[in-house]
Amino acid sequence: MIPFLKRREHISDADLSAYIDGELTAPEAARVLTHLQRCADCGAILEGLRSVASMLAALPAEAPSRSFILSPAQAGIETRRQTPRRFAVPAFAPAVAMTIFVALLAVDLLPSSGSSDDEVATDRSVFSTNREAVKESAGAGALADSAAPAPAVPAPATGAFAPTPAAEPQTAPARSLAPEAPGTGTGNVAPPAEPTMPTLQRLEPVPTPAPAGEAADTIADAESDSDASISLLRLLQIGAALAFVVSLVAVIVTRSPGRRTAS
């Protein structure tokens, strides 16, 4: 047993431990050193602590089997930027598609508010090949019903009514002819007629009297042209609508996983 007074003189484990590590102040270290010179007990404890410390220090530093450097994905850098970019569907794509669709609808409705001359003119320039072909067939004596060289859809319709205006190059016949057009034209061209189609064709006669002086082939021309342009317009409208739906779905699909990776 260590007497109380003698016990008090001993150095604490904490100080002995800190002495090993050189963490005592100079006066503290001097006190410990003085004590150790005459106290075997504290010396034994010191050696015990020191041996533990040196054994731990002798444990080999292990090397990891891999490096921990961060990939851009781990750092959260590229994932945020890359994921949406890979699918490349801008968020405004559906809006653009919808705008185009609405614009095409507006073009569709344009003749009702004013002259169709502009439209017809545009159509002529765009579908000049078609126009030339129709002119040829009309100018060739209009017998070309079977040989109608007009390409694509409106060909049968042209063949059906082209001869009449060629024979009577006046406004009246043209007018009487035009209402017929919805029946023959739509019936032949596009059996599953869209609702606006007849309306548009019924509207045709209103502007046609304006270029009354023109040759009948021009009228026939306009008819066939508007047929072509209407069906093409229809295709463009459907295309724009499809583009809207597809881009909307694409944006929804690509944005949500992007948000998931970012978080």
Binding site: A58, L59, P60, S65, F68
Partner: protein
């Protein structure tokens, strides 16, 4: 912390991942060994080390004025604590397996000079005894005796006072010694002192 580290650190804080990865390469051994001694298993230690660096990268902004190394080691220690808590206090003994299998060292093919200082049997006993220590004592001891940090830096890692660090290290060493003495026949002769108390 060297001036070089400061430069890399400030570049990393501006989002320079390459600069940060330089720091990773410098400190990954330290972080991995801390995790290894705290968790016991290589796989768990590698996972914790990787998590540490990811968390460090994400939280570089919260490092204000503090030295990088103790801050990084504190993140690692916290990950180890979380992992120990998650698996319910007792660390796995997978380190034993790892030691038996031999340690692959792809980044340092030359064997460490200390490898021969302790035979593998003794090393196993030391690491097992280390796992028996209370968490905070083990952390203090690992930081001091294995990682070689001074008390001031250990206090910074553990966010505690110098006095607490001092007593944790002393109690940890004394406890470890008692644990090792229970298998005294394995210990070097110089270690077999009888305890005074």
């Amino acid at each position: 912390m060297m001036a070089n580290d400061d430069a890399r650190l400030s570049r990393a804080r501006q989002g320079d991942l390459a600069a940060f990865n330089d720091l990773v390469l410098e400190f990954q051994g330290l972080v991995f060994n801390l995790c290894l001694r705290m968790l016991g298993g290589r796989q768990a230690a590698e996972d914790a080390a990787q998590e540490t660096f990811i968390a460090a990268w994400r939280n570089l902004g919260s490092l204000r004025g503090e030295a990088f190394r103790p801050w990084l080691l504190r993140i690692a220690a916290n990950h180890c604590r979380d992992e120990l808590r998650r698996r319910g206090r007792r660390p796995s003994s997978s380190l034993d397996l790892a030691l038996e299998e031999g340690v692959p060292e792809p980044f340092d093919p030359a064997p460490a000079p200390e490898t021969s200082a302790l035979d593998s049997e003794l090393r196993r006993h030391i690491t097992r005894a280390l796992e028996e220590l209370p968490e905070e004592q083990r952390l203090a001891i690992v930081l001091c005796d294995i990682e070689g940090l001074d008390y001031t830096e250990i206090a910074a890692v553990m966010k505690t006072s110098l006095g607490t660090v001092k007593s944790r290290i002393a109690r940890g060493r004394a406890r470890l010694r008692a644990l090792l003495l229970s298998e005294a026949e394995l210990l070097p002769a110089r270690f077999r002192h009888e305890d005074r108390r």
